[in-house]
Symmetry: C2
Subunit: 166 residues, 2 copies
DNA sequence: CTTGGAAAGTCAACAAGGCTGACATAAAAT
DNA sequence: ATTTTATGTCAGCCTTGTTGACTTTCCAAG
């Protein structure tokens, strides 16, 4: 790499042009990031919105609608459209809450879990390949920068999710 | 960080759960990435699609429509709608090609450049802050992983753009 | 010089996935 | 008893993507 990213004490001497490259990298990388799931979903009745719902239901089984709403950052009308089709087609189960019967707890059915696996296998394969190509140190840095880019509320949500896993 | 990302010889011992966290980080970070420009554009007649067009026209002044099409990865009908409004509102100038008069060369007007600056200032500010928080080593890693995530064609496009700068 | 094909623009129609506003229901909380 | 919360739903709108069809312009090869 010709361009240095050096500078001590956390001070970075990056030109606007260099930062702009980071922005473009983010743009192109995100296209790659969504490409595989998009390919799988096209032809089915589902899209990226369904993928996101399935992902986070898998991630937090039994999560409530409101919970999912705040993670996804969309309106309930928007989520409901997606959720309804997933429930109708038997990918997601909606259970009335036991303590609070107003709440609906969302779970993947076997069929839903199968699609989740197919989608996340594809997406993880790409991530793994990228990680392998870039190396362990790069992966650490990747995560740190991404986390620093998030809005504070989203960062909190992300960290909450992080703790729930592993 | 409790989770190790170690492993010698480019072999990464990452569990599916750890890779999944990278995927979620990408999702949340992209929201932050687009948040500031989106805020600026809301209320104007423009959206994210306009931002992207403006960005790449600024980046490669005089680029042709076909060129832009392949960078953005949308159909000409979709781009045309965006481009038309930018031209009508005097943000973009479309010049008939000198050698090949079928081609249109796209340039930002002063007004267009002003909006471009406003948008990219906001976006760069966030990137800079993230870079500063994460440190120089992390920034290197960030770039490497992003580049490795791209589809090969997009990576080539990205690298071509990279060379044109600096 | 004619003709094939590339570059660009445009019209129409459609779909996904966002949004707002309004309203309904059930159940919890006060 | 009343208010608030969680959810669902209807209707309508916007942006941004898509396909298909058609036109104009014009370079380039026959």
């Amino acid at each position: 790499m010709a361009e240095s990213v050096g500078g001590g004490e956390g001070l970075l001497f990056l030109t606007d042009e260099q930062v702009r490259k980071g922005i473009e990298a983010m743009f192109f990388a995100y296209r790659g990031f969504t490409a595989d799931p998009d390919r799988i979903l096209e032809g089915m009745d589902y899209g990226r919105a369904h993928h996101r719902a399935i992902h986070f239901i898998h991630r937090s089984p039994g999560t409530t609608v409101n919970n999912l709403l705040s993670i996804l950052g969309v309106t309930k009308q928007s989520l409901n459209r997606v959720l309804r089709s997933l429930i109708e087609n038997g990918l997601v189960e909606s259970r009335v809450g036991r303590q609070d019967k107003r709440e609906r707890h969302l779970l993947l059915t076997a069929k839903g879990a199968a699609l989740e696996r197919e989608l996340s296998d594809a997406q993880r394969a790409r991530m793994r390949a990228a990680y392998r190509a870039a190396g362990p140190v790069a992966v650490q840095g990747f995560r740190q920068v991404l986390e620093a880019m998030m809005d504070p509320d989203l960062r909190r949500q992300f960290q909450t999710l992080k703790e729930s896993g592993t």
